[in-house]
Symmetry: C2
Subunit: 141 residues, 2 copies
């Protein structure tokens, strides 16, 4: 089990927008060509990024731009924009309350797993779009 590819796709979109917004009109069709998914998926994801205040999309005429500088966009922002707010692990419903383990399993695991999730969020927060752009530049020059 793993997270869907919405997150990598969203990062891909943001990198493309950051890289090309000054040279050409970054449309969902253009992005679909680079990411290689259906344009509607791009538009949907872009809608989430827009709702999160990460990009501005020009309705009608088309094209997208970053709403903030790449230093101010972290992977945590992207994650929150794109993924549901869920627990990392899915608990089984209705464990038997007559069993001491069943009665307590949820409470036992919950805070420990939330801690792990918290660490993951911190890690994502430490990665900025700018750092990815820097790496990208290093790889392409």
């Amino acid at each position: 089990m793993q997270f869907s590819f919405r997150m990598p796709v969203a990062v891909h979109i943001l990198l493309c927008v950051a890289s090309f917004q000054d040279e050409l009109k970054v449309t969902s069709n253009f992005l679909a060509g680079s990411v290689n998914v259906h344009p509607v998926i791009i538009r949907k994801t872009m809608g989430q990024l827009k709702a999160a205040g990460l990009v501005d999309v020009a309705a009608g005429v088309g094209g997208a731009r970053l709403s903030r500088s790449p230093e101010e966009i972290t992977l945590l922002d992207v994650f929150h924009a794109v993924e549901e707010e869920e627990d990392l692990f899915h608990f089984h419903e209705n464990p038997n309350p007559a069993c001491p383990v069943g009665r307590n399993i949820h409470a036992l695991l919950d805070n420990r797993l939330q801690t792990i999730r918290g660490h993951m969020m911190k890690d994502l927060e430490a990665i900025t779009l700018q750092s990815l752009l820097d790496d990208l530049k290093a790889k392409t020059t």
Copy 2:
């Protein structure tokens, strides 16, 4: 998206085995009653725990026991026993190699996300079955 509930179920199984192995025969039907899932799911999960060397199951006569002491079983052991070895995030296949972003997106994200996954593994490793049993005892007495 999140991990399936195999992991919490496996922990539940191990806690029950540890708690009851000296008092009664811990069968898949007994466990199914506490966890509240189908006995076949228990047997399947138990098979994974057995293959990972965490429990011994008595074929024929039935009943399970821990193969090691609870101090020597970590949630990382359980995780490896029960979850596929996958990346945390699912990458989109076939990004456009003609685009500098598409050509590099995988390499850009991969090691960063692997690092995050590594932290998660370390966190899981720090949680022993014994610590859960201690908490359980504190809650039930």
